[in-house]
Assembly symmetry: C2
Homo-oligomer: 236 residues x 2
């Protein structure tokens, strides 16, 4: 993904709409906006330029830098922003991802969280870097709406919260559609390939999303989306 | 994705588990299995070799060909299979994707369909090629469990079926969680970027998955997964 480095203190929004989201939701973190000569002179561009001007954000016109930053065709605006820390609420509804490894999955789960008003995202290491531009892009900018925090272990997170714990496991005893949902809750999901290990059977109420045996499991972001939908649908 | 070509009459399963799925579910379409020298001599390999032997499927030991076929590291077994046509049932529950463009989304939707026993998948062109190895891989082999058929237009599909139609649209008037579900049904989803156009408001009962205005829409595969879960959960 272009020149992005995990250890750098900046990341990038690759695309026009995504960059506008950055400027609307986290303008204090925006450092620079790159514009390609092929970018149309349209309303979105004018909005971006206005926000940059009002906030003293540098605008750089450079096809070369855009091509370096993005490996995607048709990416004509890139935003550069400072990485940031968030505080999460330990007594509100939360999604906890244990060792997520896929950037696209993490991004779409963030989008789903934002869509269903789950504002807290806990990530247990080792895990994919949430500031990887692929995650930012897959989140469609929802990364700027959700509070996230990394922990070295699940126990390190667990000791801070009294939330009702619902680990999603193929060995779960209770069906998602029949579960009694107690708020505030933390919905816990394992790694794409390995799921949650058996120790999570002792953590709260293990849940299974019942499905046929035509498949071993659902894709992580689909499982998380189904779970979040079911837990939040009374609110919508 | 390696040397795959849309116009070719063969496609590939990139990976050991995926190739085993091919051999279990569509052995009559398997033409050849490529094995890399780094492949461990384990139970899965022995199962693959047994099936190849019983079915006279050629086994080719070649690191060079595997590297050519797969752009993924750690891919040590590749299956080559003939593309195939399916027949769908016009009076059973169906998912209809209008102009899907993303290979990963199509693959994970197929996986979800297989998981919730939706056996018919209708795809309206233009659309991503279902035999693209990225789709096959994202489906985790579920492509061999689902019947799919491409149509030039929605009308061409529609004239063959009396299914109850449920287009999923941001302009939908009824909430998914409150809808009365009449079988057999066809759940219809639009393109990732553009959704379904307004003409679908006249097709059956337009449904909306209610969410906050923090996001414009859900990711396509997440929306489809939530919908399929809600429509089928009484069966699980």
């Amino acid at each position: 993904m272009g020149v992005y480095e995990k250890d750098s203190n900046v990341s990038y929004t690759l695309g026009t709409t995504l960059t506008l989201e950055l400027l609307i939701k986290k303008v204090d973190k925006a450092r620079r906006v790159y514009i390609h000569s092929k970018q149309d002179n349209n309303d979105t561009l004018n909005r971006i330029l206005d926000i940059c001007k009002s906030n003293n954000i540098e605008v750089v016109y450079s096809d070369k830098l855009i091509n370096k930053l993005s490996d995607k065709e048709n990416c004509f605006i890139v935003g550069e922003f400072e990485k940031f820390d968030c505080e999460i609420s330990y007594n509100e509804n939360t999604i906890c991802l244990v060792n997520p490894s896929n950037a696209g999955n993490l991004g779409t789960i963030i989008r789903t969280c934002a869509g269903f008003n789950i504002k807290n995202l806990v990530i247990i290491e080792p895990a994919v870097d949430i500031f990887n531009p692929k995650v930012v892009r897959a989140s469609m900018g929802a990364i700027f709406n959700v509070n996230f925090k990394y922990f070295k272990s699940f126990d390190e997170y667990k000791k801070n919260t009294n939330n009702n714990m619902y680990p999603f496991m193929l060995k779960g005893s209770t069906s998602l559609s029949k579960i009694e949902k107690k708020e505030p809750y933390t919905l816990i999901f394992g790694n794409e390939a390995t799921g949650l290990n058996d120790s999570y059977l002792e953590v709260g109420t293990p849940i299974k999303i019942m499905h046929s045996n035509n498949i071993d499991s659902l894709n992580l972001d689909n499982a998380a989306s189904i779970a979040v939908y079911e837990f939040t649908k009374k609110d919508f």
